[in-house]
Amino acid sequence: MRIIKLKKDNLFPFLEVISEEADLWAPVKKGDKHVFKVVDDFSQIEMNSTRTILPPRKIFLPPTFDMFSVSEEGYKEDFSHITKKILFGIHPCDIHGLLILDNFYKQAYLDPYYLEARKNTLILGLSCWPDEYCFAKSTNTHIIEEGFDLFFTYLKDFFLVWIGSSQGDDLVRLKPELFDEKLTDKDIQTYLNWQAERDKAYKWDLNFTAMPDLMELKYGDPLWEKLGDTCLACGSCTNVCPTCGCYNIMDKQFLGGKDGKIMRHWDACTLEEYSEVAGGENFRKKRSDRLKLWYTHKLQAFISKYGKPSCVGCGRCIVACPVDINVRTVGKALLGEEEDAFWIRLNKEVTK
């Protein structure tokens, strides 16, 4: 893979050129958090952002969109929400998240909306620095070798830029004079130092190799009932997770006429309706059973099928869950270590 160099001051001129033909999406501030948004004013881009509230999958499959328009002639697929996009500033863990969704939507179940949106979006990754919630090193998703068109490692005064695809190369060729082809020994050393420091900056880790067995061994553990008693079934963990991809569909008929639309919206296995079938039977009426399903997906089932967990260590569930049910506290509890968490405190308080 070719690696070139871009001076810091040359970034905006480069973004200027490439954003002429596509919407540029990048992380910007929302309160003290971050979100991906279309940016015109590059100074709004948060170069040192932490995880965005919603994962980048919202750019490919928005939380709600119209899937079909319906008329007397039949159904017609509606791709109108899909436009040419460049996604700048996506971190390694989130690129891994997209690769995991690819397993699902590009291989197991071909999803035309996802495929089309993926085809129309260029991925320009950006290096990051862990905060107290990140644990991407535990999931080995802190580094990325594929899944991007360009990847920028931010080294204070300059970027090292990995060219990951011919489309990425085409972008560079739009303005090659902005880049330096030659790296000095000092540049390389700066990068190596940065990487060593960054790897040391992860503040906690989780032993993922133990997780599949522990999920198996502790499937009947009272732990799950405690989690179920506390879970609010708010669906936040699922909605913010970059590797969740379930959805539901709803009819939107128009009054009087025969026309309508079929709307698709994000669904979550942590919600009650998710496992309900025709006739009202529900296979996972209990919240504890739903959480078991979610954690089986994240910590066990995906590993046996694809050799890696479907958790990328982004820390979003840790930030989002109001009652501290997340990969960290559940993972630690499975390992027999007790974290300080509301669901543990509640169970002590209410059952004492």
Binding site: L232, C234, G235, L255, H265, L346, E349
Partner: protein, 263 residues
Amino acid sequence: MEKGSKEKLKIGIYELTGCAGDALLILDCEKELIDMFKAADIQSFLMAKSDNIDGELDVALVEGSVSTEREKEELLDIRKRAKTVVAIGICACFGGIQAAFLDKKDWEKNFKKVYGDKKMTHTKPLQSKPIDAYIKVDYYLPGCPIGKEQFLSTFNRILRGHPPELYRFSVCVECKWNENDCLLNKGIPCLGPITRAGCGSICINHNLPCVGCWGPVEEANLTSEFHLLREKGFDYDFIKKKMANFSGTGMADFLGELKGEKK
């Protein structure tokens, strides 16, 4: 109605005790109003027309709670005439603000404070209750007021003989779809997790916590929400008031059980 039948469904829209916000919202569907009147035979709708008939109905939409003897009788009569009854708005579904005094004694005290010893001549006042305290309700369409999109979709589905299709999860789901930073996690008392979605998380989108105006979601984990708010520093009375504010009867059992918890 049988499929393919040319007869339009006979519909009645009624208002009991409430702010008439739901009826107003229906009127406010300006773009769709003509289609609505074309698609259905609207027999009674006091806010919209004067030639109202009180006959047999296919569907009655009832807004408001029952707070007088006369309303109770009117409601019983509506139920007798209508094949399907839909409760629209939080007052009809859960009692609304006027049912926030859960305790009969509290209500009596408050009633006295407002009306003194005045004699009620034209009807007997009752402690405000949702309509299912008196009649069987087929469908519930919550909201304060109900949402336009949800109302139109429900109306449309009922005309076609389908049950309403509502979101059955909490406000948090829509709140996340709108990519809000969670207020509850910042220590602001948000009732999103126990409140039914459908409003588009409009309050949180404007940086205000949810006060539960769409009523409890089916699976509301009131125990967990209650203790979470306690831990965040709010006292028993504050939380109880907040939870009972819009949907007293939906919370009554839980709040009743909680009595012993008061610290």
